[in-house]
């Protein structure tokens, strides 16, 4: 499914009640689509995996611009435990300076959408000699000391079976916001139906 398919449904179901420019061509509608995609990622519908190169002495990493939440992390072949800053403070007051093989990851509180490894890696990964993404590097070409990440992803192209539910949730937001075509009853019904459809395909 593409975003364009969903926005075409939004236009068709709205019945051109939004004056002037069709909804599908409005930046506001596109941003509402992104909002719904993020919501679905938070609710556990869409996730992805990334493999990141590590650098000795670098503790903070960032999976991708579509990351909504980090779900799990792996250093080399080891699954890292999720930790909290207040727990790490008890292990060492200067825990950010500890070097070694990472054992724990935490959601970083000082940078956006990033996560921090503890201890900070004292060795970097081998060179990535292939394209990033879910290619060969997750198989036999896995580079030692690379960082694997599962993350909830706000994806532009959602699976096709989410077309109609997503279109309805976009309509609910479009017709509940302040505008010349605001229609709370219509928006409420779209939200209700969109949620029913999500329950059906769950």
């Amino acid at each position: 499914m593409t975003q364009a398919t969903v926005l075409a449904w939004v236009d068709a179901i709205s019945g051109d009640r939004a004056d002037g420019t069709p909804l599908a061509q409005r930046a506001a509608t596109t941003s509402l689509y992104a909002e719904v995609a993020t919501l679905l990622a938070r609710e556990g519908w869409i996730a992805n995996v990334a493999l990141l190169p590590t650098t000795a002495g670098t503790a903070v990493y960032f999976p991708s611009s579509e990351t909504v939440e980090v779900l799990g992390a792996f250093f080399d072949d080891r699954a890292l435990a999720r930790g909290r800053v207040d727990e790490l403070r008890w292990t060492a007051t200067q825990w950010r300076d500890v070097r070694g093989e990472p054992l724990v990851w935490i959601q970083d509180q000082e940078t956006t959408d990033s996560f921090r490894l503890m201890p900070t890696p004292d060795v970097g990964s081998a060179a990535f000699t292939y394209d990033a993404g879910t290619g060969t590097h997750l198989g036999v070409g896995f580079p030692p000391n690379a960082l694997g990440v599962f993350f909830a992803e706000s994806r532009i192209d959602l699976p096709a079976w989410l077309d109609l539910p997503v279109a309805l949730l976009v309509l609910a937001r479009e017709f509940s916001r302040e505008s010349d075509h605001r229609d709370p009853a219509f928006a409420g019904t779209c939200e209700q139906l969109g949620r029913i459809l999500l329950a059906m395909v769950r």
């Binding site: 068709a12 179901i13 992805n48 995996v49 219509f186 139906l193 029913i196």
Partner: protein, 203 residues
């Protein structure tokens, strides 16, 4: 038994009092029926098919849509010998072995989903394997009025109800929405309280 799309279009247009398709072109209703059938099959799990998935050596993660384009929801996986793989939450894999992420074995034993579109097959194998994946199908597009539904007649009422609600929404006739919307809500609720489905959801 399946039903021709044209017959469903006529029925739903009668329900929304537009028998001549003046407000709602029949081609638009046909496109809606495609979407409605997909959602209803998602709940009813009526149309299930299998496809083969060839794994890559030493690899455990696979994008579902890229590898199984017709899959709406995976329901089971078998290996080459016909043995079922066990479904497990991915977060539980580390309980057995913190190094599961790169672990190799002679055959995959368990499968997990991260979200709905990332499949984990564990452990990885040194060589490619051919697995059989069973899934609830994303039903095909109804391309013309002579196309027939893949779901059976007993769920036609829900396909029609969903299409009817959308047409009423489009026409802003919200007073007529309550009936079909209530039937759909009950249908979705039945599915969510089905014990077999709850077990599936829990992992």
């Amino acid at each position: 038994m399946a039903t021709a799309a044209g017959s469903l279009i006529t029925t739903v247009l009668l329900r929304v009092r537009d028998p001549d398709a003046t407000a709602h072109p029949r081609a638009f209703v046909l496109a809606l029926l495609t979407e409605a059938q997909r959602c209803v099959n998602g709940a009813a799990s009526q149309v299930v098919e299998t496809a083969t998935l060839t794994t890559a050596p030493a690899r455990q993660c696979y994008a579902v849509e890229a590898n199984l384009s017709n899959a709406l929801r995976i329901v089971g996986i078998r290996d080459e010998a016909g043995r079922d793989l066990t479904r497990t939450p991915w977060s539980a894999l580390a309980h057995g072995n913190r190094r599961w992420w790169r672990q190799l074995g002679s055959r995959p034993l368990v499968w997990s989903l991260v979200g709905r579109d990332l499949l984990v097959l564990h452990p990885a194998t040194p060589d490619a394997q051919t697995l059989t994946v069973a899934y609830v199908k994303k039903t095909a597009t109804l391309s013309s009025e002579t196309s027939v539904t893949e779901t059976t007649d007993d769920v036609n009422d829900f396909v029609l109800a969903l299409t009817e609600v959308i047409l009423l929404l489009k026409a802003r006739r919200l007073d007529g929405v309550a009936g079909p919307l209530g039937r759909l809500a009950a249908f979705a609720s039945d599915r969510l309280t089905d014990p077999a489905m709850q077990r599936e959801q829990s992992v």
